[in-house]
Symmetry: C2
């Protein structure tokens, strides 16, 4: 008995996405069956396939949503970080770290996504969303072009690992300051000291 208007359909898609985001964050990709998602969203698997095509398609939508949220927060903070490129680099990096440690985000984006989507697809998507800002900031700060890409990748890896490290230490109040302090050291290393 499908009594779905266009608005109802959009609502259904949104509800499925929200439920899937929670479940993937909790149990990981392999740990959740599409029937779990469907039941929690009060539809059947047919609806899920209609809107997202496949389990991988659903996961991709989930990852996209989380990544967009992280990038939005990053850009917002960096934009009022002042004109000094070094300050912008720092502000943006710390903002990234804070955004990606939001409750279910790190696991989906940093652990599941590379395995599910493949590392190269994940890397491309990450680069498009937040990586560009890092690479750009490194350029603004005067990093040797020959090292820029390599350094960008390694700093990105450092921040991602910091996020996962933090996610396991939510009860230790000293962890977050320590992570930010360590990150500052690495960022200072990146900029050619004046």
């Amino acid at each position: 008995m499908p009594r779905a208007s266009a608005a109802d359909a959009a609502e259904t898609a949104r509800r499925v996405l929200a439920v899937a985001t929670d479940l993937f964050a909790e149990r990981g990709y392999a740990g959740v069956a599409l029937d779990d998602v469907a039941r929690a969203a009060r539809v059947t698997r047919g609806a899920v396939y209609h809107h997202y095509g496949s389990k991988e398609g659903l996961f991709l939508a989930v990852a996209d949503g989380l990544q967009a949220a992280v990038a939005a927060h990053l850009v917002a903070v960096a934009d009022d970080g002042g004109p000094d490129p070094r300050a912008r680099l720092r502000a943006g990096s710390h903002a990234f770290l804070d955004a990606i440690t939001a409750p279910g985000t790190a696991r989906v984006l940093l652990v599941e996504a590379p395995a599910v989507l493949g590392w190269q697809r994940w890397r491309a998507q990450d680069a498009e969303a937040s990586g560009v800002h890092l690479t750009e900031a490194l350029a603004d700060v005067g990093v040797d072009p020959a090292l820029r890409d390599a350094l960008s990748a390694q700093l990105s890896g450092a921040m991602n690992e910091a996020a996962l490290w933090l996610a396991e230490r939510t009860d230790d109040p000293a962890a977050r300051p320590a992570a930010h302090a360590a990150l500052d050291r690495l960022l200072d290393a990146a900029v050619p000291t004046p």
Copy 2:
């Protein structure tokens, strides 16, 4: 018709492990069925279950083997890196990077393993195999104890990402020197400059 002596059994287990290592590296965990492994090793799935208990058990054995190889190479190089702790830190780090970029290693250890085994189990195993050496080296070099763990995690993340970054650039001869140069910058940042 099982005519298996003890030596034959060990040979079977070894052959299955070798085949599984190749397949997991090529297609990832989800992309390989146990029947593929069994056929390639000229046995049935029964033999695989007998020796490794489960698909996850088989993957764990594969990951263990690769991680042991990486750690062995790391230790070997670091041990003749001389007595200077800073030189040992550098030598060990570069050795790690070289070892983990061996053909199928990075994907299994850095992309599949965290998702399959769970990040915490993977982290613990990685810390036991190579992480301890990094943390120890940082201590020897005089890193503030409050930052040591955070910095160790972030440097580890940087190296892992460098490895994956390199794995996608096997045809670019400038990539590896750039990765090592960028890594040196981060390592220099870690040691309190005298």
